[in-house]
């Protein structure tokens, strides 16, 4: 959901920025050309082109306005409703109070007063670290596994029922197993992240392998390519977009789950911090935490969307 709102915003502002730079340069060239002698005909043509360019720019600016204004209105309404709710229920802190709390928290994000009282920056970082480790391990195991499951029907039939049963299980259900095996909170949390992010990677990668158009494989067969060439020149590039979709889904789930896992395990981390603030009844901090979690999650997804877009190839046309 959040993607749908922010993506066009980010994209269009980027484009206009680039366009502005480009056309500033072009206008310079344009004026330079205009001063040199020219027939009135070509000058008229140039002026028309320039006018055209200006009009296109205006259109672009207006499309940017069309994209931003509704978002701003949405935010304003959101804050208004929040303010209203805060007024009728005084347990809910007002937007202003939360803002003040956030400013204070972020003015010193990296203090450390013992294991249970650390700056918000440390909390975010340690959550990210856990996600990174669990997620990285899941990629290390899940992607090769996905390739093999996609390539070998036997393996696919062998693993399909197990995956089908285990995938719908809430990742938190695995936490006790993690605690039992690792006897510590931190590896148990990483274990939970590993479990929840591995499914989308396995499934998307294997589906990607199965969906490789027969035409591409026929090319490989006609040329009698080696397995290594087939992998690097055909399988891997063809599967990459699917794989990255899996990775993107995983990071979303992993970030959802880490908060819950940390609430249960304790230690340093944004989820634990949120729970701690609940115990201390500092409600404005809870709301700050909610926003922080949302924004970090959004950034993670955006990052991966960007990476995925780089590897997208155009099959059609």
């Amino acid at each position: 959901m959040s993607n749908a709102i922010t993506l066009p915003l980010v994209a269009s502002s980027n484009v206009t920025e680039r366009e502005n730079k480009r056309s500033a340069h072009e206008m310079f060239v344009e004026t330079a050309k205009l001063t040199s002698e020219e027939t009135s005909d070509s000058r008229a043509a140039r002026e028309a082109e320039l006018a055209n360019k200006m009009r296109r720019r205006r259109e672009r600016v207006s499309s940017l306005v069309h994209a931003t204004v509704p978002a701003l209105v949405g935010f304003a309404l959101f804050v208004l409703v929040w303010q209203f709710l805060a007024q009728i229920n005084n347990q809910i802190p007002s937007p202003a109070k939360v803002w003040a709390a956030a400013v204070k928290l972020f003015s010193d994000p990296f203090y450390s007063k013992g294991p249970n009282d650390q700056g918000i920056g440390w909390n975010i970082l340690s959550s990210l670290k856990r996600v990174g480790m669990g997620f990285g391990l899941a990629a290390l195991v899940g992607i090769p596994l996905g390739f093999m499951i996609g390539r070998f029907t036997f393996l696919n039939r062998m693993t399909a029922p197990i995956i089908a049963i285990l995938r719908p299980v809430s990742p938190l259900a695995w936490l006790p197993i993690g605690l039992l095996v690792f006897k510590a909170a931190n590896p148990a949390a990483i274990w939970v992240i590993f479990i929840c992010s591995i499914w989308p990677m396995i499934i998307n990668t294997s589906v990607g392998v199965q969906r490789i158009p027969q035409d591409y494989l026929n090319v490989a067969r006609v040329l009698n390519l080696s397995e290594w060439k087939i992998f690097t020149k055909i399988l891997f590039p063809a599967v990459l977009p699917y794989m990255l979709t899996g990775v993107k889904l995983s990071i979303g789930v992993a970030w959802l789950v880490i908060v819950a896992a940390e609430m249960l395990t304790g230690g340093v981390g944004i989820g634990f911090w949120l729970w701690d603030e609940w115990n201390n009844l500092v409600v404005e901090h809870i709301i700050v935490a909610i926003f922080v979690i949302g924004i970090v999650g959004l950034l993670l997804e955006q990052l991966l969307t960007r990476i995925a877009a780089r590897f997208e190839f155009n099959e059609k046309s």
Binding site: D215, N218, V222, L223, N224, I234, A238, F313, E315
Partner: protein, 264 residues
């Protein structure tokens, strides 16, 4: 089996397992192709031309009968048989150059230095008139250009047998004529054996030594085989005046539109 024939198709039949059950696409196909011969396969859409070509390529295996290439039974595809696919089948993540290079490297790698492989690739693309688009990706070029890259890829590996599935179908008349001439020249030079699927009567007569005409599917088979005894090298301008040319042309048109008219 006679070893003098380059390609032998013996009583071949191909069935497909479909959702509606068993589908007999082609049956009783018998064909012998000499070394260096140019054979055109012509027939209405859906009669099984691609099916037969894929069998020759080794991309699929016959349900009955045998195919032999250079004295060996066809059990799978190999680089001795270059294939130009009906739908170009370029790899979209590779540039035109890399698409061709992949094939060149497979066949000549190890034997020749890198510079030579690069030269072969560039020559093949130059041959089809694509030197200017060499570093473009398939999605950046037109359908006809893609088809030409596909042709370059097949030609670059200098296969003994060239299997072409409507290679010029997507091209405009001018490019098509140019590439037909190029193909004639290349084949005369390399002495490759060619089997080419086409819809185009003029193309079939202009290029081939024999035209294999297929009946309509399902259960299609070879209806007639026409020997085209026109002297080579052939010149399209001179042929336009040639009464023999028109005679052959008429024979094919009659087969397609009088004897085996497609029920539309």
């Amino acid at each position: 089996m006679n070893h003098n024939f380059h390609l032998v198709v013996d009583n071949v039949e191909k069935r497909f397992d479909t959702k509606q059950g068993d589908f007999l696409a082609i049956r009783d196909i018998n064909l012998r192709v000499n070394r260096g011969e140019f054979v055109a396969l012509i027939g209405h859409s859906g009669c099984g031309k691609s099916t037969l070509l894929n069998l020759l390529a080794g991309l699929s295996l016959p349900s009955n009968g045998v195919l032999v290439c250079a004295g060996r039974e066809v059990k799978g595809p190999g680089p001795d048989r270059g294939v130009v696919f009906q739908n170009h089948s370029l790899l979209p993540w590779l540039t035109c150059f890399d698409n061709v290079y992949l094939a060149v490297e497979r066949v000549f790698g190890g034997k020749e230095p890198k510079a030579k492989l690069k030269e072969r690739t560039e020559d093949a693309l130059k041959l089809v008139g694509l030197s200017h688009a060499i570093h473009k990706h398939p999605n950046e070029i037109s359908g006809g250009m893609k088809q030409r890259v596909g042709i370059a890829r097949a030609l670059a590996i200098e296969p003994a047998v060239l299997l072409l599935d409507e290679p010029f179908g997507a091209l405009d008349a001018l490019t098509r004529a140019h590439l037909q001439d190029e193909l004639l020249r290349i084949v005369a030079e390399t002495k490759s054996t060619v089997v080419m699927v086409t819809h185009d009567v003029d193309e079939a007569v202009l290029l081939s030594d024999r035209i294999v005409m297929m009946t309509n599917g399902p259960a299609a088979t070879i209806g007639e085989i026409l020997d085209v005894k026109l002297a080579r090298p052939r010149d399209r301008l001179a042929l336009a005046e040639d009464s023999n040319y028109h005679h052959y042309r008429k024979a094919v048109v009659e087969f397609l539109y009088a004897k085996h008219k497609k029920a539309a």
